[in-house]
């Protein structure tokens, strides 16, 4: 590693990132063992002011460089959907790493505990992305790309949303083997499940929600990958259990 860059505007940042051997310096909740093994230069986005959490009457936006701890402490996110996002980040990393891990790096870290990603999927969040042009895609469709910049995530503020997280792990705050997040609004129900397929499963339905039906839909969608923490069969079973549990919890008055 020979260069360190801290650009102060987006075009410069994008230009650097699109150069050969330049790597985004973007810490996630699960830093890699050899972070810059093949990089000649790193690009630090700290000076781009992509770390704001803003709310309007109808939506909330979170800058891509917002740290997980800023999400945990954000007044805008407290009391929203049963404190869903501040709760979710508690599971993703410990305090020290939450102070350095960014939202964008978390979303690009499939090996980290998935609660934040699931929460945003269940909120039907949108990703604001810059490549040559700025575009918005659903978070579900968003794929991190080293040649483009995630600027932020936004989601609508439905009236009186309810949410819940259900998870199973080896210890209370261990990374989830399987996790589910449910968000219930007056009009829709969304359940997102991780750990039971290579990508998160998202099931949406019109209200009133039928937890057992949604759990069945989740199980039908699973394609688990086993690891040392849980077999495919176990993960498949847990996907249904936890989806139903999260939904039941979120459906409580």
């Amino acid at each position: 590693l020979r260069e360190y860059h801290r650009p102060t505007d987006l075009p410069a940042a994008l230009s650097l990132l699109q150069s050969a051997d330049h790597q985004l310096l973007n810490l996630g909740p699960r830093p890699p063992l050899a972070p810059f093994a093949n990089a000649e230069a790193v690009v630090d986005l700290a000076a781009l002011n992509l770390n704001a959490i803003t709310e309007t009457a109808v939506s909330i936006s979170i800058g891509a460089q917002t740290t997980l701890q800023a999400i945990a402490e954000s007044p805008a996110l407290h009391h929203f959907a049963n404190d869903l996002l501040p709760q979710a980040v508690q599971y993703v990393a410990h305090l020290g790493l939450r102070n350095v891990a960014t939202l964008s790096a978390t979303l690009a870290s499939p090996d980290s505990s998935p609660e934040l990603h699931l929460a945003l999927l269940a909120l039907r969040a949108q990703a604001d992305v810059l490549r040559t042009e700025r575009r918005t895609v659903t978070l579900m469709a968003y794929e991190p790309d080293p040649d483009e910049l995630l600027l932020g995530i936004s989601f609508e503020r439905p009236l009186n949303p309810k949410a819940a997280i259900a998870r199973v792990a080896r210890s209370p705050l261990d990374a989830a083997i399987v996790a589910a997040v449910a968000v219930v609004t007056p009009t829709t129900t969304t359940v997102a499940v991780a750990g039971a397929s290579p990508r998160p499963i998202v099931i949406q339905s019109a209200n009133p929600p039928r937890p057992d039906t949604i759990a069945e839909a989740v199980i039908a969608t699973t394609n688990p990958i086993a690891d040392y923490r849980g077999s495919a069969g176990y993960r498949k079973a847990m996907a249904g259990v936890l989806a139903e549990r999260a939904l039941n919890e979120a459906s409580k008055p």
């Binding site: 360190y4 860059h5 230009s15 305090l95 176990y234």
Partner: protein
């Protein structure tokens, strides 16, 4: 665009605020902030991993707790960094309230993570002056601690917050809670020593759970022993002073890196180091071709090391993924790492075997086919060693029994995971002697064992043991000292070699996995009549501690209960997994998990209360423990031990009360109407451990008086964070009649301190403490003699006399006639005035006894019947460790041990793929508990007075590791009616059991 960067590895200048002062440093773009801070004198910033997960390198970055190993130094440009050095009050000044609270509550054990914890607490209190316990736990979760179980750090933060708010806090040694007169339970105390005393401490009165100490009335008071004295090393550890192995640098020091095997079993057909050697900055690349082939066993044990001897420093064959292939020394760590990639190795990949049972079968790959290995029991079948011991006739016993039970239990492989990795610095001193500065539990064994590997005589080697950042048995090994020294021999330069966290997992030591089969014959009246134990222990690629760990598993697994017929049969088997070794408990956690699961199963099957069944059969005072003598210690013969003290009934009673054992019979308590998928349960286990290896472990101490009447105590004992330096100093201070701060203790340096076998086998307080007490008594006699000379009285040291009627109290020596003289005056007189002499003495101690500490372990669990997740909500352990020389440090040992044992039960496991590659080589994946997820913990000290121990002491450090797993297994059975016989109790295992 405003962008700063540097080309071609040039240095870049970084400006930031460090501890309130503007700072400008030069760094390379790739340098981590941790490295840059340490390079600039912030030694409090500790390396524990490379992924930010342990948090010991954390600082406050713009007032936020931040791990620095994952940040690049340039990222702090324009920002503010605070380390613990910012609150260093300077020499002789009062500590910051946080540092003081950490010291006085016993929150500092090894102290490696302490600076980061103090910073986390500082951040919290500045933001929230009235923190709750939950808030404290939430901020401490950013720093992993393997020693304390987080109980006392939480207490410390709450206490410091109160002090910083200007509130008055109660003393740590506040009035004791009324206890149970020990005589009423166990009869008259055997010990009549006038030095005998008991703990007089009590709760710290914080919001955190506090603990009771039943008192012992020995009719004699002690001034220092039994008191919650602040650890002698607490202040420097709280300040983050450079006291660890790596807090040290030398001009011209090279950095080492290890090339490890990617294959589980392979022969090195060819190895070409030419490209690596050609890399600028590389000074040495060593392979098996470059170092003498000297067979050894790496376990740090008494000479001669137990068999087999099956290792060499570098071999032409590799036997596990992570095994040694080559080692490099270079100008920088980065160059050394780069050089590893340039070593070309041509492997002949061999079939590998990972299961001990498979390894013994005919046709299995032979792991040790080298002709020069020494004393392998049956290399052809991969059997490193065997044990076959009988007492009575078990087969006849089974035939005579009313009921016979047989069950098999599987225990798994876990890692010590001390936060400080293995770290060694070697260099030549001015006298051309090799100095080995190392984080070791066994400095004297290291010196003896490394000498033949290097071709140097012992006298040419000096081993220095600085403070140790945790060991837990993992450093009872001559692990990397040989490689580091080989590099210094090859280059003539100082060499530093530190394991990464990944290497800690793949290439250090761990706990032996095993399969344990018990067969038990029981009479209808509930007495054990015949008990056989068969252990198949997986010792991985090398034998090291395999035989002796298995011996202890058998000792603990057969000694706890009375039984006339016993048998232990064991095979210690080579496989191609990374080598297990010593780990706190040393076989006892394996043996007792199986035994205490078995006892529960038998009791439930017989319809007898499991506690009653245990107590009916448990050993008691006066019982001979013949099995320990029959098994022995490796090749060393054992001896039958007689139980002199046993507080087990009281432990059971106290523990049951603390966990509210009666709830076990309350069906309403077991259900949670708001969470219908949850079932609650209670479980318990009885534990019996050993105290030192009888007739084998030896410690020595030297004590001399200084001009002012203070004392230097030199011990070879190795304080690895347990507080043994403090305990030994307390024993010296008590014997010499001075306050603790008149004792300056130093450990350990093979040039200056007398021999000690090292910190293992729960021996330090008992053995090294015995040596300190003996040496102090000799010094005391010399003091009495000198006082008599000064007071013109007859010498008190007549035939057989030991100064009867003479006393030392509060630095003053009193003659029987009431005359007195101060220690300072005695010191000056002896050193300068008349018949000059250095008042000093050295003593050694070895004991034929190994008095067993006893404990009752209780666990409360919640089982999620839908997911199988087991949440342990409370752990209680009541321990009879004799006299607790320092009740606070003893409690700390128990609390920390319980959390480590909890990981063994539910979350920790070394997992492999089908090729023997370890899958979880980092914290997180390898799950050790954080501060905000540990259950409520209660440690209860039940005192007895062990006549063979210093001031009545037995051991406490290892027994907390022994009972959690079986207690949790029994609690799961209580909750959901399912018996789990395989550790750990992962959600899937429990869920699978629930499906059947």
């Amino acid at each position: 665009m405003k962008s700063f960067g540097v080309w071609n590895n040039q240095k870049m200048n970084i400006e930031f605020t460090l501890n309130g002062e503007p700072k400008r440093i030069e760094c390379e773009p790739r340098e981590t902030l941790m490295a840059a801070l340490r390079r600039n004198g912030c030694w409090s910033v500790k390396h524990g991993c490379e992924t930010g997960e342990c948090g010991s390198c954390s600082v406050l970055l713009d007032d936020k707790l931040t791990p620095t190993c994952v940040l690049l130094a340039p990222q702090v440009q324009g920002r503010t960094v605070t380390t613990v050095e910012a609150i260093d009050p300077g020499p002789g000044q009062p500590l910051h309230p946080l540092q003081h609270a950490f010291a006085e509550t016993g929150a500092i054990q090894c102290g490696y993570c302490t600076p980061a914890m103090i910073l986390a607490a500082k951040m919290l209190i500045e933001k929230e002056p009235h923190p709750t316990e939950s808030q404290v736990r939430d901020v401490l979760n950013g720093v992993l601690c393997r020693c304390t179980g987080y109980v006392k750090p939480v207490q410390a933060v709450l206490r410091a917050a109160a002090v910083m708010r200007g509130e008055k806090v109660p003393p740590i040694d506040s009035a004791p809670i009324a206890g149970i007169p020990i005589e009423s339970v166990f009869g008259p105390l055997r010990q009549s020593s006038p030095d005998a005393g008991g703990p007089e401490t009590g709760p710290t009165q914080t919001q955190t759970k506090v603990f009771t100490f039943p008192t012992i009335d020995t009719q004699v008071t002690t001034e220092v022993v039994g008191k919650p004295e602040i650890k002698v090393d607490a202040a420097k550890l709280a300040k983050g002073k450079p006291v660890f192995t790596d807090d040290f640098t030398l001009p011209g020091m090279l950095f080492a890196a290890l090339l490890t095997s990617p294959h589980a079993h392979a022969r090195i057909k060819n190895i070409d180091t030419a490209r690596a050697k050609a890399l600028p900055g590389v000074h040495a690349v060593l392979t098996y071709k470059d170092v003498a082939r000297v067979i050894y066993a790496s376990g740090g044990q008494t000479w001669p090391n137990p068999p087999p001897w099956d290792q060499v420093s570098l071999d032409s064959k590799v036997r596990h993924v992570g095994d040694r292939v080559a080692v490099v020394a270079a100008e920088t760590q980065e160059i050394a790492n780069e050089a590893l990639k340039l070593i070309d190795v041509d492997y002949e990949i061999l079939p590998a075997v990972f299961s001990a049972h498979e390894a013994m079968k005919p046709g299995a790959p032979i792991i040790h086919d080298e002709p020069d290995a020494h004393k392998i029991a049956d290399a052809e079948h991969n059997i490193a060693a065997t044990i076959d011991v009988k007492l009575g006739d078990v087969e006849k016993g089974f035939a005579e029994s009313d009921r016979v039970f047989e069950h098999t239990y599987n225990v798994h492989q876990v890692q010590q995971a001390s936060i400080e990795p293995h770290i060694v610095i070697t260099y030549w001193d001015d006298d051309d002697r090799l100095v080995i500065r190392t984080s070791t539990q066994v400095p004297f064994h290291v010196r003896r064992m490394v000498a033949p590997l290097l071709g140097l005589p012992v006298k040419k080697i000096r081993v220095i043991k600085p403070r140790i950042g945790g060991g837990f048995g993992g450093k009872q090994e001559m692990l990397i000292e040989d490689l580091t020294a080989h590099l210094t021999l090859a280059t003539g330069r100082p060499v530093r070699f530190e394991y990464t966290r990944e290497l800690e997992f793949t290439s250090a030591r761990s706990r032996h996995p095993a399969t344990i089969t018990y067969k038990a014959g029981v009479m209808n009246n509930g007495t054990l009549h015949s008990l056989s134990m068969h252990i198949v222990e997986n010792t991985g690629a090398y034998g090291t501690h395999g035989l002796t760990v298995c011996s202890v598993a058998g000792q603990r697994g057969l000694a706890t209960y009375r039984c006339p017929n016993m048998k232990l049969q064991a095979e210690i088997v080579y496989t191609n997994i990374p080598t297990p070794g010593a780990f706190r408990g040393y076989g006892a956690p394996q043996g007792l998990f199986a035994l205490e699961s078995l006892m529960e199963e038998i009791a439930l099957e017989l319809g007898i209360d499991p506690v009653d069944f245990r107590m009916k059969n448990a050993v008691r005072v006066g019982d001979p423990i013949a099995i320990t003598g029959a098994i022995g210690e490796g090749e060393h013969e054992g001896s039958t031990q007689i139980v002199q003290t046993c507080g087990l009934p009281e432990c059971v009673e106290q523990g049951a009360a603390a966990i509210a054992w009666d709830r076990k019979l309350d069906p309403n308590w077991k259900l949670d109407p708001k969470r219908p998928h949850i079932r609650r349960g209670l479980g318990m286990a009885v534990c019996m451990h050993g105290t030192a290896i009888p007739g084998l472990d030896m410690g020595a101490a030297s004590i001399k008086v200084n001009d002012d009447g203070s004392f230097n105590v030199l011990v070879g004992a190795t304080d690895l964070g347990t507080g043994s330096d403090t305990v030994l100093a307390q024993i010296a201070a008590e014997t010499l009649g001075v306050p603790l701060n008149d004792v300056i203790i130093y450990s350990s340096d093979t040039d200056f301190t007398p021999f000690d076998t090292g910190a293992y086998a729960s021996s330090t307080t008992y053995i090294s403490g015995g040596a300190v007490k003996k040496a102090a008594e000799k010094v005391r006699q010399q003091i009495f003699d000198r006082a008599a000379l000064m007071l013109k009285l007859p010498s008190p040291l007549g035939v057989g006399g030991e100064g009867e009627g003479w006393q030392i109290r509060n630095r003053q020596v009193y003659a029987p006639n009431g005359q007195s003289v101060s220690l300072a005056a005695i010191a000056l007189h002896s050193l300068h005035t008349e018949d000059q002499q250095q008042i000093m003495a050295t003593a050694s101690h070895v004991s034929p006894h190994s008095p067993p500490p006893f404990a009752a372990q209780f666990a409360e669990v919640e089982v999620d019947t839908q997911t199988g997740q087991v949440t342990v909500t409370k752990l209680v352990m009541a321990v009879d460790c004799g006299t607790a020389i320092n009740p606070v440090t003893t409690q700390g040992q128990i609390e920390g041990g319980l959390v480590q044992a909890l990981g063994y039960a539910v979350s920790e496991e070394m997992a492999y793929d089908s090729n023997g590659r370890l899958l979880n080589t980092r914290f997180g994946d390898y799950r050790i508990f954080q501060a905000n997820e540990v259950p409520e913990i209660e440690a209860i000290l039940v005192p007895t007075y062990e006549p063979s121990g210093p001031f009545g002491a037995k051991a406490a450090a290892e027994i907390p590791m022994d009972g959690v797993a079986p207690a949790v297994a029994n609690a799961i059975q209580d909750a959901v009616g399912k018996r789990l016989r395989d550790l750990p109790f992962t959600p899937e295992k429990v869920w699978s059991a629930l499906q059947n």
